[in-house]
Symmetry: C2
Subunit: 353 residues, 2 copies
Amino acid sequence: MLSKVRIALDAMGGDVGPAVVIPGAAISLQRHSATEFLLVGDRARIEPELEKHPALKAASRIVHTDVAVSGSDKPSQALRRGRRTSSMWLAIDAVKKGEADVAVSAGNTGALMAMSRFHLRTLPGIDRPAITGIWPTKRGESVVLDLGATIGGDAHHLVSLAVMGAAMASVLFNKPRPTVGLLNIGAEEIKGHEEIREASEILRARNLPELDYIGFVEGDGIGKGLADVIVAEGFSGNIALKAAEGTARQMAELLRNEMQRSWLSKLGYLFARSAFQALRDKMDPNKSNGGVFLGLNGLVVKSHGGTSAEGFAYAIDVGYEMAHYDLLNKINQMLNREGGALNSVQAAQEAVS
Amino acid sequence: MLSKVRIALDAMGGDVGPAVVIPGAAISLQRHSATEFLLVGDRARIEPELEKHPALKAASRIVHTDVAVSGSDKPSQALRRGRRTSSMWLAIDAVKKGEADVAVSAGNTGALMAMSRFHLRTLPGIDRPAITGIWPTKRGESVVLDLGATIGGDAHHLVSLAVMGAAMASVLFNKPRPTVGLLNIGAEEIKGHEEIREASEILRARNLPELDYIGFVEGDGIGKGLADVIVAEGFSGNIALKAAEGTARQMAELLRNEMQRSWLSKLGYLFARSAFQALRDKMDPNKSNGGVFLGLNGLVVKSHGGTSAEGFAYAIDVGYEMAHYDLLNKINQMLNREGGALNSVQAAQEAVS
């Protein structure tokens, strides 16, 4: 466990930049006072914001650059233009150099993933990184990965995701052996893609000490909280996430509109305000903000680009927790311990293909 | 347009059987009096239910069999045990023989699809069938396919789905040229599976007169109503459907619990009852009941197994509409017209692979 967590922030990331990032950091600092910030970006835009938050100012150091990756840059463009100079790169670079324990950016996902992967490299035994999110469920929260970093993948990839997701869940939920399910259609063993069935067999056969594999979980099982960790390759993980987010937003809007339709329902809204507040709190997309990149030699957290200061603070919180509980080390230990098994799976697959 | 629609019902399908199927048929008959029913199943269990609904009795004929496919039968088992004898098979058989315009069953999906495919065969130019659903959106409703019939598929398959989905949407929404989107992650052309990008190029290049291709749609774009038709291969379509259904249920439960937490919020609920009723109506899973099997030489509608009589009535309604507006003929016409183009795509792909 780290006593002090050093967080590098891409101050220019997101739709707004410093005016969201800096107040967001101030909010998170109130919750975790043992934080030091590296604020990477345009000093002329960061300093005025920082003046409003003396406590944050005292805990921060500015790393100036006037290069910023734009939201519309393709990953390859971002790498070409922003390598070694952009605020996004320099935040990741601070992690690489050991000057920060985690980097947080609201910049564009493709660019952030490309730079993180290029600069930090994947962990031994991991071919491809994943974006991991925290999903509000009926029972509390679950860790869901991959939310869109890597499209497709073989059984080995899915098993690696299970191991990394379990490490994150054990840290987040303080469970030594979190339950893990594989996202699939139909709960029967006969359905789904070949690699998912194969990953299922491996997880069952290996019976790893760090995770409790419970089998297949359908799309509606995520919200039911059927497992602490839900594993999917990035395409279906992203589809599930977006479909769920879209439905939540759709229902909230529908309800809001209906509540304003008559004075009686408006009155009802006033009386039941606490209930609506609770619903908003539990389904608040801000609180699920913070996609953790797993599988790299360093921790990087991606915030939504269009988030508020409150939302960005949650993304920083996620980074804080991951660094504080030394997630990276934990993942490395698990991968090393299971590495032989995972690699032998991979070798067997490669021999066959 | 058919003046009279003949519907074959698998009276034994679903968790309950005749006690849901028969009253469901009675409800649907009230909405569409120009319907004739073939009730296939155990006469001893159907007749007592039918006695309660004289109007339905007058419009129905019973086809007796005491063989029923069980909810737990695997598709191969169902085919082995239930071929030529089960209520499910005989309902499909009525469509095959031209004695019914559509079959509706709440029996198990895998068995129903296997039997439908085996007995009705796929349409010329269609390799694999799809399950098609109606999705409530912010703007109204959209047609979404494939919800889980066929896992994976090449660009040709996706283009076929687009054509069939557009035919269904034009019938349902009375639009000559419905908009069509391909489900993908990220709206940029660079993301997603190869076959999705390829299907996108084909749809753009062909510029079909029957559909207006609008490009990629992300998971949250379905509920926004970005397109009249959303096309996905069966795995991701099913994941999207289940994730959305799960979220809707999760939010409804959460809201219900919160509304009962204090007398003030209970009072609020009473005042705003009409708003909650409207929300329930719009997101009612009963109303989305009825997955249409497309791509076969005959119409088959699958109802949820655990549905109520109200829900089953909606599935019958869907079957009625599809038959009434002669969907099958419409699809055939479109496939014939575009058949050359679709087949040349397929031929090109096969030559490459």
